[in-house]
């Protein structure tokens, strides 16, 4: 039984589709006058953020609040972490406070996995180092399905700093599970060692793959993680791997442009591309709330989670 969400790779096809379908139902709530459901009343979700992230933290916070859970935001800055408290002690404190779910973002890969040893509640990975960011991949898959109507058989190109990108890794794993053909594209220095074992194709040539793809997903160039020279200059990177209007014009008519945000406008993506109608960047933010509501509900809603085991269990039982 899987009460945590650590990696997109842990999700079976049925699990992933259940999350997307649940999110689609929950998306309706956002358009109602009353945007709140009583489902997780009395439960506590803790946002444990060791790295700054307004977007993801707020998204989880809104999602938990729409399900009536109590939310505690715990950021490393200004907390006892700054005084040198260890991860384990922080976890034990949260456990003692009765946290039902801990949403964790940490700069070190593997932190969420570590937390599962100390916390009885659900641990949800909101980004760990360069490892994974499963809810981002889920919201990307949701956005694609919402716009294009399907996932099976689509071709998705993920472009840029794959090496430092947890978003790329989670997307490759999830999209492959959902029957999507994924190609990662970037300079050789920004493709991780072992990428050939990932369930995707690789390329160094963006122009060659664009005309055949249904979705192009741009990654942020993570300057804060680049402690070495991975490419000669920002201008050169932008010329070879940036998405500008000229490149966008080579995409098929229906193709989408995605970006997990925050964007470096003018670097990996041109401003005019980011604001184009085929770009889904603001939709991704809205869909993120529905996806996180779905994950919180499916992990915390009942005595046992609805994901991570036999789908027969999730069939609605009687109508009493």
């Amino acid at each position: 039984m899987n009460r945590h969400l650590i990696s997109a790779g842990d999700l079976s096809r049925d699990d992933a589709l259940l999350i997307l379908d649940t999110a689609a139902e929950l998306a309706q709530v956002a358009s109602r006058p009353v945007k709140k459901l009583p489902t997780l009343r009395g439960r506590t979700a803790v946002n444990l953020f060791y790295e700054d992230s307004t977007r993801t933290r707020t998204s989880f916070e809104v999602a938990a609040k729409r399900l009536s859970a109590d939310v505690i935001n715990f950021s490393a800055k200004g907390s006892s972490v700054a005084k040198g408290e260890s991860l384990k002690d922080t976890a034990l404190t949260l456990e003692a406070m009765g946290a039902d779910a801990v949403v964790v973002r940490h700069g070190a890969s593997g932190t969420p996995n570590r937390l599962t040893n100390w916390i009885d509640g659900s641990v949800i990975n909101a980004g760990d180092g360069t490892h994974e960011h499963p809810t981002q991949a889920l919201l990307d898959a949701y956005t694609i399905r919402d716009r294009l109507g399907r996932l099976d058989g689509l071709s998705v190109v993920i472009v840029g700093d794959v090496l430092h990108s947890r978003v790329a890794r989670s997307n490759v794993l999830l999209l492959a599970t959902l029957g999507v053909d994924v190609t990662v594209v970037g300079p050789p220095t920004l493709l991780p060692v072992g990428v050939e074992t990932w369930p995707c194709a690789t390329s160094y040539d963006l122009d060659a793959v664009l005309p055949k793809c249904d979705v192009v997903m741009m990654l942020r160039v993570q300057q804060e993680r680049m402690h070495a020279a991975f490419f000669p200059s920002a201008r050169e990177y932008s010329r070879r791997y940036g998405l500008d209007a000229r490149r966008m014009a080579t995409l098929p008519e229906h193709a989408l442009v995605m970006h997990p945000g925050p964007m470096n406008r003018g670097m990996e993506i041109a401003a005019e591309v980011a604001d184009a109608t085929r770009s889904t960047i603001t939709e991704q933010v809205a869909n993120g709330i529905s996806i996180r509501m779905a994950v919180l509900y499916l992990l915390l809603g009942g005595t046992e989670p609805a994901i991570g085991h036999d789908p027969a269990h999730t069939e609605p039982t009687e109508s009493a």
């Binding site: 139902e25 399900l67 915390l300």
Partner: protein, 172 residues
């Protein structure tokens, strides 16, 4: 089943003095099929369309934490919404009343109907809440160890109401 539904359709029309402002909300999954059939019958008698919606009360249940997490069913607001309307909730089996209680709360979040009524195909008794249906297809006294299952042609290939002794392990 056909006769019971026709009778309920007539009863709804009689009580509401016509089909104006009547909205049918089916409770998934089979309540939705039954609501559609009722709407057809009402239309056949009265002419005009009665809006049909579906209402999944899962997120509002008081027993969520006692069972494994359930998948959500589809909720669809009927054309024109529910505000100020006469809403008839439609379900296949009425048992403890907890589904209906949850559905009432769920309905609150969609709007404020003028009036809410309840139509069920089978009332099997054993209520745990002060809830009483306005329209009943058939009263079916049962023991608590028994299960009542309604099959509808749209979903199950045939119409039937089955009473089953609880078999260990199988359908709950």
């Amino acid at each position: 089943m056909a006769r019971a539904l026709t009778r309920i359709a007539h009863e709804i029309l009689e009580r509401a003095k016509g089909s104006t402002d009547v909205v049918l909300m089916g409770i998934p999954t089979r309540g939705v099929d039954l609501a559609r059939r009722l709407a057809e019958r009402i239309a056949a008698v009265e002419g005009g369309q009665v809006p049909v919606g579906s209402l999944d009360p899962t997120m509002y249940r008081d027993d969520l934490r006692l069972r494994p997490t359930r998948a959500l069913e589809h909720t669809e607001e009927p054309a024109g919404g529910v505000e100020g309307k006469l809403v008839v909730l439609v379900d296949d089996v009425l048992y403890s009343g907890r589904t209906v209680r949850a559905a009432l709360t769920a309905l609150d979040d969609l709007g404020r109907p003028r009036n809410v009524q309840l139509a069920v195909l089978v009332d099997r008794g054993h209520r745990e809440l002060p809830i009483r249906p306005d329209y009943i297809g058939k009263n079916l006294p049962t023991a608590q160890v028994e299960q009542v299952r309604v099959l509808v042609a749209e979903r199950d290939g045939r119409d039937a109401v089955l009473i089953e002794r609880e078999v260990t392990g199988s359908a709950q």
